[in-house]
Symmetry: C2
Subunit: 480 residues, 2 copies
């Protein structure tokens, strides 16, 4: 409960995160190793994330559908890199209906293989292309070290899977989707992500190119928030997905896949939180405004008036499209409630007591600076929606300032080693996997991405001096 | 494809159903036994069902959350009837991450057990009650005989799970939810369901009372479309879910659970379809209106004008809140397209050719009677939404007339045997499970429910002559 002190973020980030997830009612431990229960407050955040992204997917021409969760284990073996990437993490059903199965079935860690099988059936002609499908579902990857939202054996996500007549069109799709993720992160989650391409060592198992959005968390570590992959013909060849083109020639399709998951909840927690707890981006916040009526125990008639006024304020805000809650809980002090809602990250709090009632005003407290201001009662419904939009911009700016203050451009390895402890490092790199591994062993930092609009990358590798492999610098960082 | 003839419903209902599911692009067979792929057209119907029900759940005070899919097998053994009901159908994960698990984990067939475990942790005091939670998810029951949407090993559903301080309040919740299902079926799916209670033999494994909505399909068989269960203290005792009441006494909570699934898609197909294919209830239809432009190949300028006009009509309808699609597919005749959209059950079709363009009109064809009528071009946006509402009422009335024509009240067993071949039979019953079984062996009919508002049930059992067990007559029917 909120009455005990939350470990401050500045003191111990990891404890802060773990405590906050449970204390803010986002999730709970479950009896099954590595999996979690997503509680209503956390799930409502996920529903808002889903609604927003789903609208963006549909507006860009995608349709939803649903594939089976169980996939024959043999399917994974058809794409060589894919099986190497995923087989160590599979959970396998060997018995069902009281009998041993003839072929074991894996719970999907991702659905490329079963989708490949179906696409080979559905696609015959160029007229069937492109296929632009997406699925919202649960997936399972048997991880050894788990943390709520960031890495759990079961998680919720969406996986888009598209098939195209040619490479150019498929690549365009992969770019489009990573850019939609970036737009979502910036405009809804208020996280100023960087968009770029993964190096070979960080690519998805089976992809030719992987694009990603990366956010900087408040412990100066990076979090990959969404990825989009161009598969070329890899899965088309593995699952025989061919089509007759306009000239009646049989060709392989080019496929993409792209996904974001409940990990985005972890991103929201870690990109915005502070010593007091969560700070919810208003456009995704399950509760945008909480109204706390302040009672005096000895004046029941006044308390009733205060409560009526609080409900009236909430009704006006609700009618103005604001997600609002009145905290009518009994037996808890106003101060306790303030802390509780601050810990839960509600962007705006309205306090309303007998004196405010008399003065025809309310007190408005915003979550970032926790500054208080009086607001005329008659202006609440008009002022609050605008104030929420302003809050979004402030939160985005705050995250951007933090990121900029923790981003460094370095040209020599001693600086690299020093700066990578403090955040993101832009460096020239040779692109050799061995060199990446040496850097990781030395500093725990990995190449996050090669940003599309990052600084140019000519010159020699910051670590080994070999020539640069990329036209732009690589972001290195410690990461989740 | 729609070019081949669909087996008429009147000729062979079972073939009609199986063919239609695939030909109308609702679902496809999957490579995994007993499971299906839900294709975009079928999934869009499910999304509309979800959105509607989710709004009704939230309006009645429920919140969504998410529990892990894997449940320790030992949990099922804690409630005696529950394990008997579900253990033959479990799919079990025995290996994960390349190792054998210490305890096998079952894929949830339903989540009472893991939810019971969590509720025992979350509920301490009467102040924590009621808990009104719901989960949308996939579940798995290893069935031997499967049919798309009606019975598949994996299916999608929602499961509500609530905990209450007393029996009366929990029973009220179970009633409330079965009535919400009935409201949904009638007002959105246009299915005139009967609401009633299950007999002992048809109860959920672990429930004290089970309520259900039952619909009559067009082959005169019943389909259970949704259930709501009152568990009493059964799961509370099995999982030790206790609370301190106002007088500081430790008591067990009373729980409920309630669910509907992708089976509702089967209900929509079978309650409304006809020889031509599906008939979609307009409030749930993925496409409410299809606009088919009719071209003449030799006049490209006229064709362009027709297409522009068709797009204009669609834009107006879309702005009026109608889900509309223009069929711009090339190389297909208008007649082929008409058949295709009739098979997919789109409620209204607008045909628009060069002559209509000149006359300033469109042709409106409705799916039930397939009657054609001219409509002034300027009236389309105003007339169509009203026509869709009328369509809903007509479809509901049509299903009601069919049900009434196939519902019989009988007082002797020879009539029972004859009538139960033709539909629903209202009969007095003794309530003995052995007598139910004899009836089933003889006629394949089972007790569907004891309707809340059905005819009185005094007298002696239609089969064995023993005294009636219930205040009302029981509906017997062959069922899915």
């Amino acid at each position: 409960m909120a009455s005990e002190r939350l470990t401050p973020l500045s003191e111990d980030f990891s404890s802060w995160y773990n405590e906050l997830v449970y204390r803010a009612d986002l999730a709970d431990l479950s009896p099954v190793r590595g999996s979690m229960v997503i509680r209503p407050y956390g799930y409502a955040l996920w529903e808002n994330i889903q609604d927003t992204l789903d609208g963006m997917f549909k507006a860009s021409g995608h349709e939803n559908l649903y594939f089976p969760m169980l996939i024959p284990v043999s399917y994974f073996e058809r794409e060589k890199q894919h099986v190497e990437g995923f087989s160590p993490e599979l959970a396998v059903v060997t018995h069902a209906g009281g009998k041993e199965l003839e072929e074991p079935l894996a719970i999907r860690p991702t659905s490329e293989t079963i989708i490949g099988e179906m696409y080979s059936k559905w696609i015959q002609s160029y007229r069937d292309l492109p296929l632009l499908y997406n699925q919202w579902c649960n997936v399972m990857r048997w991880e050894l070290r788990t943390r709520p939202f960031l890495r759990t054996t079961e998680f919720l996500w969406q996986e888009g899977h598209t098939a195209h007549a040619g490479a150019e069109e498929a690549l365009e799709e992969a770019f489009r989707m990573v850019n939609i993720y970036a737009e979502f992160a910036r405009d809804h989650a208020a996280i100023p992500v960087v968009v770029g391409e993964k190096t070979e060592g960080e690519r998805f198992a089976g992809a030719l190119r992987t694009f990603a959005i990366e956010g900087l968390m408040r412990d100066a570590r990076a979090l990959q928030c969404g990825t989009s992959h161009y598969m070329g013909e890899n899965f088309a060849r593995a699952f025989d997905i061919t089509f007759s083109d306009e000239h009646n020639r049989l060709r392989y399709v080019h496929t993409t896949s792209w996904g974001v998951s409940t990990r985005l909840i972890g991103a929201v927690i870690m990109a915005h939180g502070d010593d007091q707890g969560l700070i919810m981006p208003p456009r995704l916040a399950p509760i945008q405004v909480v109204v706390v009526p302040i009672f005096r125990g000895d004046e029941p008639e006044v308390s009733r008036q205060v409560l009526d006024e609080a409900q009236g304020v909430a009704q006006e805000l609700s009618a103005a499209g604001v997600r609002v809650k009145v905290d009518t809980r009994e037996g808890l002090s106003p101060g306790w409630k303030f802390n509780d809602w601050e810990q839960k990250g509600v962007p705006l709090r309205i306090e309303l007591g007998p004196r405010d009632l008399k003065a025809g005003q309310v007190v408005l407290v915003e979550r970032i600076e926790r500054g208080k201001a009086s607001l005329d009662r008659s202006e609440v419904a008009a002022a609050v929606p605008a104030r929420l939009e302003e809050f979004h911009r402030e939160l985005y700016a705050r995250a951007g300032e933090f990121r900029d203050a923790h981003t460094f451009t370095v040209d020599d390895y001693p600086s690299f080693r020093q700066r990578v402890e403090q955040g993101w490092v832009y460096a020239v790199h040779c692109g050799r996997p061995e060199c990446e591994q040496e850097i990781q062993q030395d500093t725990k930092a990995t190449p996050r991405c090669i940003p599309f609009d990052g600084p140019a990358g000519e010159g020699s590798c910051v670590r080994c001096g070999e020539p640069s492999a990329y036209p732009r610098r690589v972001i290195f960082s410690r990461a989740y």
